[in-house]
């Protein structure tokens, strides 16, 4: 028990640090919004951008003590809690309809990413397992998918570190590039949100990219990203079986258990709250009850936005420019090619299905 408390204690300083920065970023953003008169400059001072850029500046310019690191890394926890709470905003029928189309697009996107990155990695004579890790990272969900896959295919530590660094470099680039492209193409919140959720690698960066575009876009981003995350186990299982058959990794035991272990549980929390609130809205049709429920859903939206605010600070703090330089040219070139191809394919898909997409 005392050991568990000790373990938790390691997280407290960093968590407090990130929370203070998140609140500080929001206060600073609100103040900037009130004093800046030019509309386009004001849009650059949104709470999302202030949190990310502030985090980047502090993380890269200040020598942060090591004891802050565990707590800083905990922002993924806030991100997932925020996504779970977000489930209350979605009617389960919309989740099913949009999720159905989303899953189809995700399957195409994953297959394309894996095929493209594998070919590219062979062309550049990259180690086979590094190519596989990159393809998992680009196709599904960045860092957690890479970590999950690296254990299952017995990849080397350096290969895992390399793949994660590449994914994070492109996650940071996506924060700037995607909203610019979206604005240039005049994309709606719905289309942009879906596109970011389908194409941006890491869940935190995907949500941040959607949030930079607009508050409405981020809901679509989260839903599309959840579809990708939900399929993580299947792709990792595929790679694990592939390498095990070639004698390059351990055999996979019970496949059902493997899939369950790799399934991101926060997706279940999201769906659970969506089902619960859909039932509540259906069971209490009276106008007073509906108004109460809508008010509560609004409060939950506020809560998940705060959880995301913590995430954005964490994304900024984690983005290390020194690490980017150290990553090297070859995997970055493969990354550029793969990311551009995935971005183009998913953009095409989103526009192709635009007429069939329900609004949330």
């Amino acid at each position: 028990m005392s050991r568990a408390l000790e373990g938790m204690g390691r997280y407290i300083p960093g968590v407090l640090f990130v929370l203070i920065l998140a609140v500080g970023g929001k206060v600073l953003s609100d103040w900037l919004q009130s004093v800046i008169t030019l509309a386009w400059v004001r849009s650059l001072a949104s709470n999302v951008i202030v949190a990310i850029v502030g985090g980047m500046a502090i993380g890269n310019l200040l020598p942060l003590p090591k004891w802050l690191a565990p707590g800083i890394g905990s922002y993924e926890f806030f991100l997932k809690v925020g996504i779970v709470i977000m489930g209350a905003r979605f009617l389960v029928t919309d989740v099913a309809r949009l999720g159905g189309i989303g899953l189809l697009m995700v399957v195409v996107e994953i297959l394309f990413s894996i095929a493209f990155v594998t070919l590219f990695a062979r062309w550049f004579k990259l180690p086979q397992k590094l190519g596989s890790l990159l393809s998992v990272g680009v196709g599904i969900c960045g860092v957690s998918a890479i970590i999950g896959a690296s254990g299952s295919i017995d990849a080397k530590k350096e290969e895992t570190g390399y793949a994660i660094a590449v994914i994070l470099v492109f996650g940071a680039a996506a924060l700037i590039a995607y909203p610019l492209v979206g604005r240039a193409l005049g994309m709606s919140d719905k289309l942009f949100g879906l596109w970011a959720g389908l194409a941006v690698d890491n869940t935190a960066e995907a949500v941040a990219t959607g949030a930079i575009y607009s508050k409405a876009a981020v809901a679509y981003t989260a839903l599309a990203k959840l579809c990708r995350n939900a399929l993580m186990g299947f792709v990792i299982l595929g790679f694990a079986v592939y390498y095990a058959r070639r004698g390059m990794a351990r055999e996979v035991g019970a496949k059902g258990l493997f899939l369950w272990q790799k399934f991101p549980k926060f997706v279940l929390g999201f769906i659970g709250l969506s089902v619960l609130f859909s039932i509540l809205f259906a069971v209490f049709p009276g106008s007073a009850e509906q108004a109460y429920l809508k008010g509560r859903v609004g409060a939950m939206r506020n809560l998940s936005e705060w959880a995301f605010q913590v995430t954005f600070v964490g994304v900024g703090l984690r983005t290390s420019f020194r690490e980017m330089v150290r990553t090297g040219v070859k995997p970055l070139l493969i990354g550029v090619g793969a990311e551009a191809a995935v971005a183009a394919v998913t953009l095409g898909m989103v526009f192709a299905v635009a007429g069939f997409l329900p609004s949330l």
């Binding site: 997932k80 254990g151 509560r296 939950m300 506020n302 809560l303």
Partner: protein
């Protein structure tokens, strides 16, 4: 080591569900979690 890491990450994943649902229940009950 890897095994214990796996166990920890699994339980952490479940904790996100527990904390998220608990916060949703508190908000649904009308208790303000974030006052601003």
């Amino acid at each position: 080591m890897q095994g214990s890491d796996k166990r920890r990450s699994l339980s952490l994943d479940w904790w996100t569900v527990i904390v998220g649902v608990a916060l949703a229940a508190i908000v649904l009950a009308g208790i303000p979690v974030i006052p601003w």
